[in-house]
Symmetry: C2
Subunit: 360 residues, 2 copies
């Protein structure tokens, strides 16, 4: 297969981790005889520094010309701590999501048996947890009108949704549930908000087309609790943009490490893959960031192109690295491997170079 | 002391649990020779059924004439599952908060050593957790304009804040931190929203008046993760209305049981105390609901009126009930006490009637 992948490292540790993603993709290409090429583009604080824009038009073009995007991370404390900054790295991510028409973010939460010790939850609570958070990505408060008064003493943000936006992601949610345990949970705050009630109305309609899927509802406050009290109850979670941001981060924490959480963002034409974690600017250049979430995002990329054997080879290699503790310090205390060590181990393992890391 | 308490049972299990609150307050009155009187008023689905309004004017008047309000719970699936209902129980709660000027909701999260086994978190993670969530209660998306289009195909909700609303609760947060471990965490999404940036600007200003308090910031998505990865890092959490709703529910889950989580809502003139949990309409009338969150809300009420000895007597009795497992089924598996058993045990214990429950 011929694949063109746009690599957008972004900020902080973004470069280090996407480098490992590329390394692993190159190993897959060699082993399975695919023609995978890469094009690089800037986004975020990095792009602001170079061009003044958090997403230069050229970067968006590079993405559009690719078959898929591999994204690193975005954000910089320099902007976070300055509430008056007008140009912000995150605008680049939003423009990218909009520009590529990415309307759904998929975050699978699966607990690795070897890593239940890393979870803050008790083993009996977390064991066998396996669900997916489907977050709407193109609407809600992220894209409504944001206002500040002239005197700077009041502000507002608007959460806005229309039926089309909801229907599109709802169909995806039902199809996913159909292929899994056939349970869909819509998370909203329909006892308070009009947008939530619009979500419920649309879902109730669409549910009729998927009689084999059991639909239930949960308020977002209750959901943030249920997620830790009984995560096994979930199969597919569907929710709006902001609730999805909060809940998917909570969900990845229960799985043991956010350093393992991958995600895919889906559009009509484009797809983007990225780790859930942030830019950890403090760790930048230290070669200590965990590349597994990025590498597992690459697995989702391969699966997207129906390269299942390839994805399996990659995941086997990741499992091996966890089993042998060839992992970064966040995942193990005894041995200390670097970001690039982990990427190298996984790609060499894919290439059957079993004699690498024999010093272990 | 002379105290007039308005009791608003609300919906579902509200009546059963506030009955225990009253029982315990009566025991305190007898034991410590206070003159505590009660007046009752309807709110929520119960009020809608009787009067058509989720908060009849009369109910608000009864509250205003009292020194404090003890609130049960609100909500009914009948309305939750009907996105088209125009009159809703929750409107009563919002009108009450507004009408009484309640601008801050305080939810202390403290882990009982005897109950770490109930927490979904590992003991090493949860042990010694002791923080307070301070949720702004009078603004944000709860009070912005909610709109649906004529054709019902689009909707919006507005999150709105002004400096005055933020300053008021921020001062409370800093004062609380000053009296505790001197650490304040503002939780927002300042990398995305104007209202969050307004929060940061105001807090930065106000922080100057409290040099002894260490202020730090956290994005809400990260906070939902940090809450379970490392809850001990928190002392006082300050956040806006909706984030507070989500995070305080998550926080009470980590403490072992939402059935134990009390809260106080503070206004310029009025105070309201309520358990964090909902109306559990399914359990209504079954005498199985855990009354401890309500009874611990009564402890907060006593502390508010500086009746510290009384609050201590109450809390000692609650600890005793937990120690002896004279608790409802949600907290223990071996013995099965009813809602009213637990209330009776605690009030009799306060009254030194040590021979009650000798069958244990
Ligand atoms: C960086 C930020 C704008 C972004 C979001 O909130 O969507 C991030 O938290 C994410 O989840 O991808
Ligand atoms: C019932 C509902 C409107 C309410 C809220 O969201 O404020 C509840 O969840 C709470 O936290 O008191």
């Amino acid at each position: 297969m011929k694949l063109k992948i746009a690599i957008l490292p972004g900020d902080g540790i973004g470069k280090e981790i996407t480098d490992q993603g590329v390394k692993v993709l190159e190993a897959i290409a060699t082993k399975f005889k695919h023609d995978i090429t890469f094009s690089y583009a800037d986004v975020g604080a990095t792009a602001i520094e170079k061009t003044g824009s958090p997403l230069p038009d050229e970067s968006l073009e590079i993405c559009k010309k690719a078959d898929a995007v591999l994204f690193g991370a975005i954000g910089d404390p320099k902007y976070d701590n300055n509430p008056d900054a007008k140009i912000r790295p995150e605008q680049g991510l939003l423009k990218l999501r909009k520009g590529l028409g990415l309307y759904a973010n998929i975050r699978p939460i699966k607990v690795y048996d070897d890593l239940t010790y890393k979870s803050p939850l008790k083993e009996k609570v977390i064991k066998n947890t396996d669900f997916v958070v489907l977050r709407e990505l193109s609407g809600g408060m992220y894209y409504g009108e944001n206002k500040v008064s002239e005197d700077g003493l009041s502000a507002s943000d608007e959460c806005i949704y229309n039926a089309k936006e909801i229907d599109r992601v709802a169909h995806l949610a039902f199809s996913m549930a159909k292929q899994r345990k056939k349970k869909l949970t819509l998370i909203d705050k329909a006892n308070m908000f009009e947008t939530s009630r619009l979500w419920r109305r649309r879902i109730m309609l669409i549910a009729k087309e998927y009689p084999e899927v059991t639909l239930n509802y949960m308020f977002v406050d209750n959901a943030s609790m249920q997620m830790i009290l009984n995560p096994r109850q979930f199969d597919v979670i569907l929710t709006e943009n902001l609730f999805g941001d909060i809940l998917s981060e909570e969900a990845s924490a229960i799985a043991g490490s956010i350093g393992l959480s991958a995600s895919a963002s889906i559009g009509e034409k484009m797809v983007l893959f990225e780790p859930i974690h942030g830019a950890y600017v403090k760790a930048k250049g230290k070669n200590i960031a965990n590349p597994l979430a990025t590498i597992l995002s690459v697995a989702m990329l391969l699966e997207h192109f129906e390269l299942f054997e390839e994805a399996d080879a990659l995941k086997t290699a990741v499992n091996k690295s966890i089993e042998l503790q060839i992992t970064t310090p966040d995942l193990n205390t005894s041995q200390k491997f670097s970001t690039s060590d982990v990427g190298t181990f996984i790609s060499e393992f894919i290439l059957d170079k079993k004699n690498v890391f024999t010093h272990i």
